[in-house]
Symmetry: D2
Subunit: 227 residues, 4 copies
C-alpha cells in the first residue's frame, strides 16, 4: 500500500521541521511547500521530502500544488502567517491586506484544496497553526488579530462541516515563542519557550485521535506562563 | 457649537435607516455612505443627511470619504458585510476574497480613518455591526465566519488600543434576522425578528455610556431564540 | 395601576444605591434586601424603599422574602458575592463552601423565585452582577472563579430557558473596581474606576431593551483598562 | 524506583475503567475511589488497583483518602458529576445544592489535596472531566450549568496558579454520550458515541505533554456532531 502523504505548507521554521521529522518517523511521506524553498534543502534531505515552491495566497499556485501531489494525502498542515505591528492609525493598508491574505486567505485556499481531496477519499486531517491572537485582540496588533481570528473562524466552520464527512479539522493555538537556535530561552527559565518537538507531538496526537472523540481546537503554552 | 457628526457606512437596509433616524433625533448631523447611493434619497431627505458613494473596501475611496466630512465626527458605524454560502469544496476563491474584503478589510479601512480623526480630537465612538458568525463558525459558511471573526478580532484589538485614548469601540453581534417590509415575521410569532429600531437603541445606549463603564461588545437577539 | 416593583438583593454598596436611585427615578417602587439591613436606613429613606433582612443563601429566607413582596415584581437584581483569596493549597474548605453559596447558590435561589413570579405574570427582568472572574480563572482566586463561573452558567441557562417565556435574564460583568467614598480613584486617572451611576445606567438600558433585541450578557469596564 | 501512582476519583463508569486500564498499561499503580465501591471489584482485579470508599464532597473523607495513598502521586483525575434536570421554577433547592457539591465542590476538594501533594513533590497532573454544560448554559439545565461552569473556572484558576509550579492542570470537555454496554450507539451511526478508550487516550496525551507546551483545556466530540 502506498505510504500516506503529509503536506506541510509554510515549511521552514522550527515547527515545520519538527513536524516533518515526527511525521516521517510515524510513517508519512513528506511534502514541503513554501514561498522560498532554498532554505529547505537540508530538511528535505533528512525527511526524504519533496519540495515545492508555492505562494499560499495565490489560488492558482495552491491549486497547482495539490494537483502535483501523488498518493493518498492524509495530513495537511498550514503554518504561514504574517503580522504588521503598530498603532492602527499608522498601519499601511496595502501591508495589512497582504498580511490577511497570508494568514487567513491562504488558510482558506489550502484548506479548500485539502477538503476536496479528503472528502473524495473519505478521510484525512487538516491542521491550522494558530496563535493567541486568534482568541484575543491585542492592542497595536489589529492585523494579526484579523488574520488569526479569521483563521479560527474558518477552522471552526470547516470542523462542523467536514467532521461528519470523516475529515478531521483542528486549529492549534501555539501561545508563545518557539525555541530555536536563533531565539533561545533564558538559561534560568528552562522550557519557558515552546519546544517545537513538543508542539509537533500534540499535532500527531490530534492526527491519531479516534473519530468518536475528535478535538477541533487545542492550545499549547509554556508552563511558566500565567496567561 | 457645531453639531456632532455621525457617519453610517453601508447605509441602505433597515438597520441603517433606524440608526440614521435615531441619531438624527439625538442631535447628530448624519452622513450616509454606501456603494450604491440611489436607494438613499428618501432616507437622506428624512434625516437631512449628506450622502456619499463609497466602496468601503477601497483604501482610496475610504480615505476620500473621510477627507470630505466636515465638522466634529463623533460616531462612525460600519454595517457592510458579504457572504458566500456553500460547501467549502465548491466556493469560488475570488468571491471568497471579495467577501472578506467587504466584511473585514472594509471594517479596518473605515476603523482606521475613524481612529485617526477621533484620536486627534480626543473622543468618539466606533461601532461595528457583527453577527453570530463572528463567535461561532457554522458549516457551509466558511466565508462569513472568516469575515465576521476577523471583524471581531479587529474590534477587540481596537478597543484595547483606543479606549485609553478616549475613543470607544464596540462590536455588536446582531444575532438573527432583521424585520423589514421585504422580510416580515410570522404573524403568530410576534417580535421573533429583530426590530431595527430596537437594535439602533442599543447602539445609542453604547454611544452614551460613561467612559468609566464602557462595553466593548454586545449581543442582541430575539426573545424567542433558545440560541 | 400599581407601580412596578424592583427588588435589589445584596443592597448596601455603591452599586446598589445607584441602582435604587435610578430605578426609583424611572418609576419603580424599590425593595431592598440584605443580610445586614442596618446600613440601609438612609438609602431606604431616599428611595421610599421597603427593607428586608435576608440571607440569600438560605432557601427558606429567600422564599419568605418573595412571599412578602406585594405588587407587580418587574425587576430583580442579584448583587452579593464572596471571595476567599490565597493559594489553593491553603484555602479553608468551609470558607470556600460558604463563598460559593453566597455567589452562586444564592443567585440560583433568588433567580428561581424571581422566575416563578415572572413566568406566572408573563414578564420581567432578572439581572446578575458578575465579574471578570466569571470569564477568566485567575491564579490564587479559585473560590471566586468557581462562584462567578457558576453564576454565569446559571444566567446563560436561565436566558435560554426564560427568554421564550418573555422573562429577560442577563449577566453583567462589572470588570473593575467601583468608585466609592472609601475607595477613591487616583486624581491623575479620572474615571479609572467604575462610576456606580454609570453601571446602573447600563442595567436600566438592559431592562428597557425591546424583546426583539435582548442582550443576555454585558461587560462594563473603565476606559483606561487595556484588559 | 517506586511506580508512579494515578488516582481516579469517581471510578465506576466506562471512562474510569478505560482510564484505569490505559494508565495501568502505561506503568502507573492505580488507586480507585468512589462513593460506592462494590461495583469496582472486577476493575480493581484487572488493574491491580487499590480501592477506597470516598464521598468526594466531604472535606474529611477527601483528606483521609489522600493521607492513605502511598507512593509518588503523579496523576489525579476527577470524574464525578451530578445533574438535576427540569424547569428552573420546579427544581428542588436541596437537590441543586447537593449536585453543585458533587460536581464543583468535590472538584475543589480533590484538586486542593492533589495540589498539596504535587506542589510539594514538584510535579504531577490534575485532570477534571468536564462537559459542554461548562461552556454553554442549556435550558432546563441550570444545575448542571452551575456545576460544570464552576469546575471549569476552578481548573482555569488552578492552571494559571499551578503551571508555574510544574503541576499540570487541564479540564476536558467530554461533549457527548459515552458508549457503554448499557448505552449502545445506533448500528447505522458508527462511532457516533464517544468510545471511552478514545477519551482515555486524550487524557494520557495530556499527561505526557512536555511542559514547554501544556494544554489547559481540551474538547472531545464524536465526528458526526455538527455541534
Amino acid at each position: 500500500m502506498a505510504e500516506p502523504v503529509a503536506l506541510i505548507v509554510g515549511a521552514g521554521d522550527g515547527l515545520s521541521a519538527s513536524l516533518a521529522r515526527l511525521l516521517r518517523s510515524a510513517g508519512y511521506r513528506i511534502v514541503l511547500a513554501a514561498r522560498n524553498t532554498q532554505k529547505l534543502a537540508s530538511l528535505a534531505a533528512d525527511t526524504d521530502a519533496q519540495v515545492y515552491g508555492c505562494d499560499a495566497s495565490s489560488p492558482e499556485q495552491v491549486s497547482e500544488l495539490f494537483s502535483t501531489i501523488e498518493g493518498p494525502l492524509r495530513v495537511v498542515i498550514y503554518n504561514p502567517s504574517a503580522r504588521v505591528r503598530g498603532p492602527i492609525t499608522e498601519l499601511d493598508p496595502a501591508a495589512v491586506h497582504d498580511a490577511i491574505d497570508v494568514t487567513a486567505y491562504g488558510s482558506f485556499l489550502v484548506g479548500q484544496q485539502a477538503a476536496r481531496v479528503m472528502v473524495a477519499e473519505g478521510e484525512g486531517t487538516i491542521l491550522f497553526t494558530g496563535a493567541s491572537a486568534g482568541v484575543k485582540g491585542f492592542p497595536q496588533s489589529a492585523t494579526f488579530a484579523m488574520g488569526k481570528f479569521a483563521q479560527r473562524g474558518l477552522a471552526e466552520s470547516m470542523s462542523r462541516e467536514l467532521h461528519p464527512q470523516n475529515v478531521h479539522v483542528a486549529w492549534i493555538n501555539v501561545d508563545g515563542g518557539i525555541r530555536s537556535a536563533a531565539l533561545a530561552e533564558p538559561a534560568d527559565r528552562p522550557d519557558s519557550m515552546l519546544d517545537p518537538d513538543a508542539i509537533a507531538q500534540t499535532y500527531l496526537d490530534l492526527i491519531r485521535q479516534h473519530r468518536s472523540a475528535w478535538s477541533h481546537e487545542a492550545t499549547v503554552r509554556p508552563w511558566v506562563e500565567r496567561f
